[in-house]
């Protein structure tokens, strides 16, 4: 099976590689073409003073040739990564390591992405993060029900287990620098659009408003493969017509509170559930570097987000009162993957693809990991950048990703549907979380992204207990009219 497809690929390659036909084709004159087409972007960039990009290659005609998937290259494969968040930086690092000519475009180098910044323990290990990046080690996690029943779900954590709290500007910068050290060319600029001038097997010309050097200028950059890591509002996704996802709006206020109160949150994170703080998510108080992040999110009632924010502030009450709001931020969080995550030689990773879990709203680790897996796939399939790759090659990343993480996403989807459904369900959820067994399972799956086998007796007990909790809290609820069915509209 595999060999056959490889053979046909080679055969196709020979036929299409008649270079004359390629070179003869004049570049399409598009009215909105930016910049000087006679010179390549790469050489333009080389002229930028103190530019980080140090490419001074003449526009070689062979660069422009149309290569079929799998065809041998007489120069390294060129990959552009749009976005320098965790997804982009990790994809760039992997590509650059393999000797691929890697460009990473980021519009704002000190970007402080609106984010809670919580990362699981396994990310620190897997991505070799130095300890300075972790501002706080949270090992107490409180879950607070609508009727203010609190459970401390961190009680089963071992001494060396914690949730890392990071500042995104620090984390992202570190990951980007590492990509650069490995040979990626980091371009400070805004990605504006891209086009394929010589058909779908031809190179992509990316249009970038470069901020490198003193003055802004428009440059073109020609590459073979594009990785869209430009977040939830991805422009790359729009260009390849990847389709939409439902999204939550997450709102966060950074609040500086006095020392005593800060002390309380030293290694404690709080999660509030209830229809008051969010109809379908949770509100949080996360300790940050020198302040707390207080926020909430919702998909189904986004216009009311500020009221939910007011409610979370009220629910946290005295614990944050008197604080000063130093920053307000909001950002969409994707709810599910886009219908299309790969198109031709363009792949999406991280938030651009839609990889945030339900229930916990976790996306940093999954962004970094998907970026890395995509980079690995590009490196492996292009034989370390020596041959052209195509959609099927990129899809090896997608296939592995879906196989590896789909169950995690699905479980969290189910949990969200069952337990964030009404206040009664949330009361039950909090009750359930007081079980040490549940805590252990939850933390193992969050911190290590692995699922350990349970013990059948405890499983049964848990099931029984959960049913009991749900029954009791539903019985206690005075009905409030129909609740929302999540899912299809």
């Amino acid at each position: 099976m595999k060999t056959i497809s490889r053979m046909t690929m080679v055969a196709g390659t020979k036929a299409a590689a008649a270079p004359g036909s390629v070179r003869a084709r004049a570049p399409l004159a598009t009215p909105n073409r930016i910049g000087n087409t006679a010179r390549s972007a790469v050489s333009q960039m080389a002229g930028a003073p103190a530019g980080r990009v140090v490419v001074s290659r003449r526009r070689d005609l062979s660069l422009n040739a149309v290569y079929q998937d799998g065809q041998k290259l007489d120069r390294p494969l060129r990959v552009a990564i749009v976005g320098g968040g965790p997804a982009g930086a990790c994809a760039a690092e992997e590509c650059a390591k393999a000797g691929i000519e890697t460009f990473m475009v980021e519009r704002k180098m000190d970007n402080c992405k609106p984010c809670g910044g919580a990362i699981p323990l396994c990310m620190i290990d897997e991505f070799d993060l130095p300890s300075e990046i972790i501002d706080r080690k949270v090992n107490r996690m409180k879950m607070i029900s609508p009727s203010n029943v609190e459970v401390d779900i961190g009680s089963t954590l071992k001494p060396n287990e914690y949730i890392g709290m990071t500042r995104r500007e620090i984390l992202d910068d570190y990951l980007r620098q590492r990509a650069e050290e490995n040979g990626a060319k980091v371009i400070n600029g805004l990605f504006m659009g891209m086009e394929q001038k010589e058909g779908e097997k031809g190179p992509w010309t990316m249009k970038i408003n470069s901020y490198e050097g003193e003055e802004k200028k428009k440059v073109d950059l020609e590459v073979d493969v594009v990785v869209g890591a430009d977040g939830a509002n991805s422009r790359v996704a729009k260009i390849i017509d990847a389709g939409d996802f439902d999204y939550a709006i997450a709102y966060q206020e950074r609040i500086r509170i006095d020392d005593d109160r800060m002390k309380f949150y030293e290694n404690l994170a709080e999660m509030y559930v209830g229809d008051d703080v969010s109809p379908d998510f949770y509100g949080w108080v996360f300790p940050k570097y020198d302040h707390v992040g207080v926020g909430t999110g919702t998909v189904i009632n986004k216009p009311a987000i500020k009221e939910y924010q007011d409610a979370i502030r009220d629910r946290a009450g005295d614990k944050i009162s008197g604080g000063q709001i130093i920053k307000i931020e909001a950002h969409p969080i994707p709810e599910h993957p886009r219908p299309k995550r790969i198109e031709g030689r363009v792949a999406l990773v991280g938030d651009a693809a839609g990889y945030v879990t339900k229930c916990s709203g976790e996306g940093i680790y999954f962004a970094a990991k998907s970026g890395r897996m995509c980079g690995e796939a590009i490196a492996a399939r292009s034989k370390q950048g020596t041959q052209m790759i195509g959609e099927r090659d990129l899809r090896t990343y997608l296939s592995k990703w879906d196989r590896k993480y789909w169950p995690t996403y699905k479980v969290l989807d189910i949990l969200q549907k069952v337990f964030y459904r009404s206040n009664a369900a949330r009361e039950a959820f909090v009750e359930m979380c007081s079980s040490e067994y549940v805590q252990r399972m939850t933390f193992d799956s969050y911190l290590y992204k692995t699922v350990v086998p349970g013990n059948p007796i405890s499983d049964l007990k848990l099931l029984w207990g959960t049913v009991g909790s749900i029954l009791r809290s539903n019985a206690l609820r005075v009905s409030q009219g129909p609740t929302v069915t999540f899912g299809r509209k």
């Binding site: 099976m1 609508p146 009727s147 203010n148 609190e150 439902d246 999204y247 709006i249 509030y272 229809d275 189904i300 986004k302 216009p303 009311a304 987000i305 500020k306 009221e307 939910y308 409610a311 009220d314 629910r315 946290a316 000063q324 709810e335 886009r338 995550r341 899809r395 997608l398 879906d402 789909w406 169950p407 699905k410 479980v411 989807d413 189910i414 069952v418 009664a424 009361e427 399972m441 799956s445 699922v451 086998p453 499983d459 099931l463 959960t466 049913v467 909790s469 749900i470 029954l471 009791r472 809290s473 539903n474 019985a475 206690l476 609820r477 005075v478 009219g481 129909p482 899912g487 299809r488």
Partner: protein, 251 residues
């Protein structure tokens, strides 16, 4: 029996009640970004735009009309934000039997000297109802200690005749369970393969049973809705594989 009157509320105004009655399916509060910004000394980030083309807040899964019923922020929050007229519209829960953050069971003894669990259940129902409309701050000093599990099971059965218990009787349970297995089989997503993944197993079981409790599954239409709800996410995930041959894992 708990006379509702014994649960007293301090009510500075009746506004909340009014708001509740006038509950709109969708949030209508709209504050000017200006007042907001000056309040916080910072910029406002989100603000719903005027109608016509829907704002980003109104797209991407935002529900309205029927579907959003009962999903508004709490009455107290809305009331507080809706008017800047000074009079706080706070209802606080207060009950002399609620002592040290739990129900003082000694005050619930019935004529026979035993605890009147019915009364406890009623009192807790009323407490939760009030909290739903008037969420109260979680407090450092006063931790809620009451645990519904202390009420014996027979008290629940007697109080509610447990209609939910009838719902999970054989048929419904079987349908739901079977459904989950079929979904799994159809989508080939393999949660069930993960037999040793305990979380997956529990979640699946909990989902099936939980959904049946929470939404009433008495009629077929709802069952269909349930099916769609259970498979919706799977469809969203599988979209990128429609009509595409999956590469081998070892490629």
């Amino acid at each position: 029996m708990a006379a509702p009157a014994s649960t007293s509320m301090t009510r500075t105004t009746r506004r909340t009640t009014l708001f509740r009655a006038a509950r709109a399916p969708r949030v209508t509060v709209r504050r000017s970004p200006v007042s907001r910004a000056s309040e916080n000394g910072s910029t406002a980030v989100v603000e719903a735009k005027k109608e016509r083309s829907p704002s980003p807040l109104e797209k991407g899964g935002t529900l309205d009309g029927e579907k959003a019923l009962g999903k508004d922020p709490a009455g107290a929050t809305k009331a507080k934000l809706n008017k800047k007229l000074g009079t706080a519209s706070e209802q606080t829960f207060e009950d002399e039997r609620w002592v040290n953050q739990t129900w003082d069971l000694s005050q619930f003894s019935g004529s026979d000297g035993n605890t009147d669990w019915d009364a406890v259940i009623d009192a807790e129902m009323e407490r939760r109802r009030i909290l739903e409309e008037n969420p109260s701050p979680s407090s450092l000093k006063e931790k809620v200690l009451f645990d519904t599990a202390i009420i014996p099971w027979w008290a629940w059965v007697r109080r509610f005749h447990l209609p939910e218990a009838e719902k999970i009787n054989g048929r419904a349970a079987m349908v739901g369970y079977f459904m989950a297995l079929v979904i799994d089989g159809l989508t080939g997503t393999g949660i069930w393969d993960q037999q040793n993944s305990f979380l997956g197993k529990v979640a699946l079981n909990v989902a099936v049973i939980g959904i049946m409790f929470i939404g009433s599954t008495s009629d077929l239409g709802k069952l269909k809705g349930l099916w769609e709800e259970a498979t919706f996410y799977d469809e969203q995930w599988n979209k990128s594989w429609e009509g595409v041959e999956r590469p081998e894992d070892d490629e």
